[in-house]
């Protein structure tokens, strides 16, 4: 059986769509010409982008987070690379993440730069406090969900089920909800460094906030 692999972006609203289109074009340009690298864009309407599968749907949630926590159901691929609209791929090494899924890992991502006293620092106080009260580890690691690979395994489905439940409590940010979901659902997470998802990362440069300007 051949498993499909592809990259997925989500873009709702003009700033987000503008950034996602740039991100997709840079992704397609950086990969070697012979590489088969399917791309899907989840958005409200068709765009001029070529060689991109458009998945049309509506999302009126804050920051289109409702779609993000449903990615396991919406993605057209067995192995998915999800990237925020404000990311820029800088190296074809990005494809290596699919190899990590093939090695048996369910979810691959990097930690956020917000750790320690700054953990969940960008999240509303109410949800932040709620999250601390819920996590078994009071000194939790925050993952950055703006770049992540995931497989179509049952473990991943369970994690997304939990993520959706947790996100529905506040219907705002996805990262604290993800931390609460991971705390509930043990899963095989391979953890990368910030070059894969960080400001000036050499593999993915994450231009944080650009998609909401």
């Amino acid at each position: 059986m051949t498993l499909t692999k592809g990259a997925v972006w989500i873009a709702f609203g003009n700033p987000s769509l503008r950034e996602a289109m740039k991100a997709i074009q840079e992704y397609q340009a950086i990969l070697p010409s012979a590489t088969v690298a399917p791309v899907a864009l989840i958005c409200e309407a068709m765009t001029p982008l070529r060689n991109v599968q458009h998945v049309i749907r509506e999302d009126i949630s804050w920051g289109a987070r409702q779609t993000k926590v449903m990615l396991d159901l919406i993605t057209p691929y067995d192995y998915t690379l999800y990237m925020d609209a404000d990311t820029r791929v800088k190296s074809s090494a990005i494809l290596r993440g699919f190899k990590m899924l093939e090695a048996g890992w369910d979810l691959i991502m990097a930690p956020s730069h917000r750790q320690g006293s700054d953990v969940f620092g960008h999240i509303d106080q109410e949800e932040r406090m709620y999250t601390f009260s819920r996590l078994s580890n009071k000194q939790a690691i925050q993952f950055q969900a703006g770049v992540m690979w995931f497989s179509n395994s049952t473990q991943v489905a369970s994690l997304f089920d939990a993520w959706r439940e947790e996100w529905n409590i506040f219907k705002r940010y996805d990262q604290a909800a993800l931390a609460r979901a991971i705390d509930r659902v043990p899963i095989k997470i391979w953890v990368l460094g910030s070059d894969w998802n960080g400001r000036r990362g050499t593999i993915v440069d994450h231009l944080f906030g650009r998609a909401i300007i």
């Binding site: 090494a93 048996g104 000194q139 043990p186 070059d195």
Partner: protein, 560 residues
């Protein structure tokens, strides 16, 4: 409590070959049964050689196997299969332990040389042409190294006579019955071993017991464990020039042999040590487990997480033992109901509940650390490993509770200085670092600090630990590269902790949040500086000796 009953499986147990003789020693002195096939009436069956599996494939009970030596391809596959099936592996020589321990508990027991039978050669006179002897049965596999002997016979024909016992040798050969073998050695002036693969060989030890100087391959079988004394001439395995040089020296010095000293070199290997070593191993590894089975069946109250948990600590060398003293006391202070097992050469008696006796195999205690899955009591479903130089400053019960929620392994990310695999590169580990990065396809992946980790018992974690041990054996240096390679190969549900759970007092990196465990890095070391070689190498042990000569049992941390 009585010892478990043992049946030795030896297909030709009545013969006068080496393994049947071993079997009969155990039969006579330990009262164990000997038979050609597995007998399930006994608590344990003991394959006197790994190939006994071939006729006993349906046996699923407790199993011990003896491992003489490994030969390539098909035999190696069988060897590994039995290694994976056995509950305890007994190696003929120290060199096999590194590999066998990747499958679980493995020990070496001295060889049974019958010192009353192999007695010193009498008389001092050496004939004009000294007699050089070889011994054994030459097989088609070529492992006896006959071409080396053929070349030596050509080169040394004017200076020595060559004689053999057994069969298949290119020089005059006579078959000696087992009873007459001492006579063979006692007529020799020099014993030569040309073998390429051996478990012992017993012949070297028998010759030495008779006070005969030996010319032997340095890295073969039991040879690395023999004393470095005049009369034991070592050469590079399979290398004719090296052998010829050693033989020439032996011939030159043949009249100066100190026979009692050569005999003394064999003294650790005697029948008494062999049979007692076996009985101790059976009692240590099996008596408790077999006796505890009926008790377990009586219990019907579900156990709490903590009742299924325990802490495993490793301490080899005085600095590590000092550290372990502090660590065990702290564990008992903050987690009084959680049992602590100490793996060491000797107990500390500072509060450890269980003592696991182990050989001091490498200067960093890594092999005992990576054997945590196999050595920690099997009734512990959730195991917390702590480096000896760690010190809990609050209860770590959270780790057991997290494992009980379904996580396979719990471990800390490394401190900022070593946050990703790119930072594993040091002056002495480029090959290992490169192999690790190539496997993962990146050097930008999180690095973990193995000073504290917890695991839940399962097939997945058992395989992970087997791989971690196996990967460590490749380079035998630090364990982090091996950890990454094992993890990448065997994905696990890994719960990631921050540095508060393993906070170093050596690197003043900011640790935000309340520290749960301090890591006093370096304090447990018994050497200083970069080893630049395997931690189980002679060079590594030499560094320990050098440090101890200068500084006694002080830790380098106190001297830097």
């Amino acid at each position: 409590m009585t010892s478990p009953t043992v049946n030795i499986v030896c297909r030709n147990f009545e013969a006068n070959r080496i393994l049947p003789r071993f079997s009969r020693h155990l039969q006579i002195f330990n009262g164990w049964n000997v038979s050609a096939r597995v007998d399930t009436k006994y608590n344990i069956n003991y394959y006197m050689a790994y190939f006994e599996l071939q006729k006993n494939r349906n046996y699923q009970g407790k199993l011990i196997s003896y491992f003489t030596h490994v030969e390539p391809v098909k035999k190696a596959a069988l060897y590994n299969q039995v290694a994976s099936l056995a509950d305890l592996r007994i190696a003929m020589n120290y060199g096999q332990l590194a590999h066998l321990r990747t499958y679980g508990p493995s020990i070496q027991i001295p060889l049974p040389i019958d010192m009353s039978k192999f007695t010193l050669r009498s008389g001092k006179s050496i004939s004009i042409k000294p007699i050089v002897g070889v011994s054994g049965y030459v097989y088609h596999s070529g492992r006896k190294g006959v071409p080396l002997l053929t070349k030596a016979m050509a080169e040394f024909s004017t200076r020595a006579l060559f004689r053999a016992s057994g069969k298949g040798w290119p020089c005059p050969t006579k078959f000696y019955s087992w009873g007459d073998m001492p006579k063979f050695y006692q007529h020799l002036d020099i014993f030569l071993c040309t073998s390429l693969i051996e478990g012992g060989p017993m012949t070297t030890l028998e010759a030495l017991a008779c006070g005969i100087p030996v010319v032997i391959p340095a890295d073969l079988g039991i040879h690395p464990q023999l004393s470095y004394i005049p009369g034991i001439y070592r050469y590079i395995l399979g290398n004719y020039d090296s052998m010829a040089s050693a033989l020439a020296q032996a011939l030159q010095e043949v009249s100066k042999v100190d026979r009692p000293t050569l005999r003394e070199a064999v003294s650790p290997h005697c029948v008494k040590a062999f049979v007692e070593g076996h009985q101790e191993a059976i009692d240590f590894y099996f008596r408790k487990k077999i006796a505890s089975k009926p008790q377990a069946a009586v219990l019907d109250k579900p156990k709490t997480v903590l009742e299924q948990s325990g802490i495993y600590i490793v301490a080899f060398g005085e600095p590590a033992r000092k550290c372990a003293n502090r660590c065990i006391r702290a564990c008992k202070r903050f987690m009084p109901t959680v049992p602590v097992a100490l793996c060491a050469v000797l107990p500390l008696n500072v509060g450890e509940d269980i003592f696991i006796e182990s050989t001091d195999m490498d200067i960093g205690g890594r092999q005992a650390k990576l054997a945590a899955y196999n050595l920690a009591p099997k009734e512990w479903k959730y195991v917390l490993y702590l480096d000896a130089d760690t010190e809990p400053v609050e209860s770590l019960e959270f780790i057991f509770n997290t494992l009980a929620k379904g996580w396979d392994i719990i471990i800390c990310k490394d401190m900022a200085k070593y946050s990703v695999a790119r930072f594993m590169l040091r002056a002495d580990n480029k090959p290992e670092a490169t192999v690790t990065w190539n496997l993962m396809g990146t050097d930008e992946t999180m690095q973990y600090n193995g000073g504290l980790f917890g695991f839940s018992r399962s097939e997945v974690t058992e395989e992970f630990f087997r791989l971690w041990n196996y990967e460590w054996q490749v380079y035998a240096g630090r364990d982090q590269g091996a950890l990454l390679r094992a993890l990448y190969t065997q994905p696990v549900k890994l719960f990631l902790l921050g540095n508060q759970w393993n906070a170093s007092d050596r690197y003043p990196a900011p640790v935000v949040g309340k520290v749960a465990l301090w890591h006093h890095n370096i304090e447990a070391r018994r050497w200083a500086g970069k080893v630049g070689d395997r931690l189980d190498s002679k060079k590594a042990w030499g560094m320990v000796d050098a440090w101890q000569k200068q500084h006694g049992h002080a830790s380098p941390k106190n001297k830097i």
